[in-house]
């Protein structure tokens, strides 16, 4: 009987899941708005927001289009650096700096994407990683602008003027909610993209490239556009990181940061709307809690990752969603 069920596989989800999908932005926003109330460490909560957004941008390419990029640190880092540079060297207002960071993510994605998009699978991962390393060294060498090895210091933002009110950006809670505003906007945009006609094309290309091409879709252009959209989310996340840390460490662009996105996505659930945030939360909480009593925290994160891959192959959020479907 169980096999019959698998064979008759339909895609008619339960009413509860349908309702949750329809209101996914509202539900996710509600969760993020309430999150700091249960989370004692506000700075960590902000990091979860930012890395969740970064993983979300990565997930658009990895989970929805099915392309594994190992070069997303370049998009994230470019967003962080350009936002920081705009503030430190040119004295731009914070909102314009964030916009520049977002744009930087898109431009770097366009360049890396245009060069890498023709490759597939492991080759795509390698090419994106190599290109992101090129971007890394470019920023590493431009010491005057980026601070090189020491990172970019002095991205100071004390107050933020919101609709005529000065909001204290140094207060952890108000900082959380300002950044949360951007993240919620990003969630809304992502939801619109996924529900758009183009969202259907992304799924079709993931499912079967040859068929999508025969149906009349320019697969290369679909991939490039998705890569650039992914870059927008990652660039925004990077810009917010620069404001949160008041500095941009060069490690932001290191390929380890690319691996982080893969890990968070797999932990939370690739191709799920909210999975990246769950993945980011689990990863960063583990890192912070375990590193209190041992410096070998990576051992435990690694163990947790293995357990997750073995027992929740669809990620924690993904498995939960799967259960709700049945």
């Amino acid at each position: 009987m169980a096999t019959d069920l698998a064979f008759e596989a339909t895609r008619q989800p339960s009413p509860l899941l349908l309702w949750a999908t329809r209101h996914r932005v509202a539900l996710a926003s509600l969760f993020l708005l309430l999150f700091p109330l249960v989370m004692p460490f506000k700075a960590l909560a902000v990091m979860i927001l930012i890395y969740g957004l970064y993983a979300l941008g990565f997930n658009l390419l990895f989970g929805y289009l099915g392309l594994l990029s190992f070069g997303h640190s370049a998009l994230f880092g470019a967003g962080a650096y350009l936002c920081g540079i705009a503030i430190v060297h040119f004295g731009w207002p914070w909102y314009l700096a964030i916009g520049l960071g977002l744009l930087a993510g898109m431009v770097v994605a366009l360049v890396i994407g245009a060069l890498a998009i023709r490759t597939r699978g492991i080759y795509f991962a390698m090419v994106t990683m190599a290109l992101s390393q090129c971007v890394y060294y470019l920023f590493y060498q431009a010491v005057d602008l980026t601070g090189g090895e020491n990172g970019l210091r002095g991205v100071n933002l004390k107050t933020v003027n919101l609709f005529g009110f000065d909001v204290d950006f140094l207060n952890p809670l108000s900082r959380y909610y300002i950044i949360c505003g951007f993240v919620i906007a990003a969630l809304w945009v992502l939801s619109r993209i996924l529900a758009s006609p183009f969202g259907a094309v992304i799924e079709a290309v993931r499912e079967n490239e040859a068929r999508a091409r025969a149906s009349g879709y320019d697969v290369m252009l679909v991939r490039l556009l998705t890569f650039v959209l992914s870059g927008a989310f990652c660039g925004l996340a990077g810009a917010l990181l620069a404001l949160h840390l008041s500095t941009v460490p060069i490690e932001t662009m290191h390929y380890e940061t690319s691996g982080l996105a893969v890990m968070m996505c797999l932990l939370g659930g690739m191709g799920t709307f909210f999975g990246p945030f769950i993945g980011a939360a689990i990863f960063l909480l583990l890192e912070n809690l375990v590193s209190v009593w041992t410096s070998h925290w990576q051992l435990f994160v690694g163990l947790a990752f293995m357990v997750c891959v073995l027992f929740f192959p669809r990620g924690i959020w993904g498995t939960l969603m799967e259960r709700m479907k049945a």
Partner: protein
């Protein structure tokens, strides 16, 4: 679309002029010139390794010929990108079943329909294109899958997946439908259903199909092309082909190899 002033035989929908294809040193196809009549069912037959699939891939734009030209409605389409063929009015189904396995049958058809109206619209909700839903429903019914709209394509039986693929090919309202061994791997009953479907579809459009089993297409084809060792061996009506001595030798007496 530019109309060419040169005298153009309206009864010919597709034509190849001396097309050939080599893969490295292997000559898969050489110098094939043939015409396909508007509104007819033309079958490309031949034993295994005759170059049928290579020829099909040249006609459907999967790859460009090494030599020669491919013309569709008088227009040179040699080497044109594959995705543009659907927009010209040429659709194809693959030899190996090719659907979007994790989408429902309805979504499979719907996304194929959408290719003509909306490809890069990233911000409007796709539910606004509700006319596509009804069209997809009609197409599902057309290919005999009306009761399966919520099934995942990957969970359909083989014959149903093939039918779905034909439905997806029809989504682009093609004037020319190319089918690569549409009954491959089918049960006799599924084969019969598919053949009936092809005959019905051919009432409104030109069909070119590649088939390995000669008997199957004799009854329904208006014209046949016989390929052998990458060359055009014979061409004509089913009766011509049946009487052709060379064809008989190739199909019946393959001992000489």
């Amino acid at each position: 679309m530019t109309m060419q002033p040169a005298p153009q035989d309206q009864s010919i929908i597709m034509r190849t002029e001396g097309v050939g294809k080599t893969f490295g040193r292997f000559v898969a196809l050489k110098d094939i010139s043939a015409e396909f009549r508007h509104g007819a069912i033309t079958s490309i037959i031949g034993p295994n390794g005759a170059g049928k699939s290579t020829y099909f891939n040249l006609l459907s734009g999967a790859f460009a010929p090494t030599t020669g030209k491919v013309l569709f409605e008088g227009r040179d389409v040699t080497g044109m990108a594959q995705h543009k063929f659907a927009h010209l009015g040429i659709a194809k189904s693959f030899q190996i079943t090719n659907v979007f396995p994790l989408l429902t049958t309805h979504e499979n058809i719907r996304v194929s329909l959408q290719a003509l109206v909306s490809r890069f619209d990233i911000f409007r909700p796709r539910t606004r294109l509700s006319e596509l839903d009804d069209e997809a429903e009609a197409l599902l019914e057309r290919v005999g899958l009306a009761g399966h709209r919520h099934r995942l394509a990957g969970s359909l039986a083989h014959g149903e997946q093939r039918a779905l693929e034909v439905g997806m090919a029809l989504a682009s309202h093609p004037r020319l439908l190319l089918l690569d061994e549409p009954t491959a791997g089918m049960s006799p009953e599924e084969t019969r259903t598919m053949m009936d479907l092809i005959v019905r579809l051919a009432e409104e459009r030109t069909v070119i199909l590649v088939e390995h089993k000669m008997k199957l297409v004799m009854g329904i084809s208006d014209r046949l092309l016989v390929l052998h060792h990458g060359e055009l061996l014979a061409e004509g009506t089913p009766d011509d082909i049946r009487r052709n001595e060379t064809v008989k030798r190739v199909y019946l007496g393959q001992r000489e190899h």
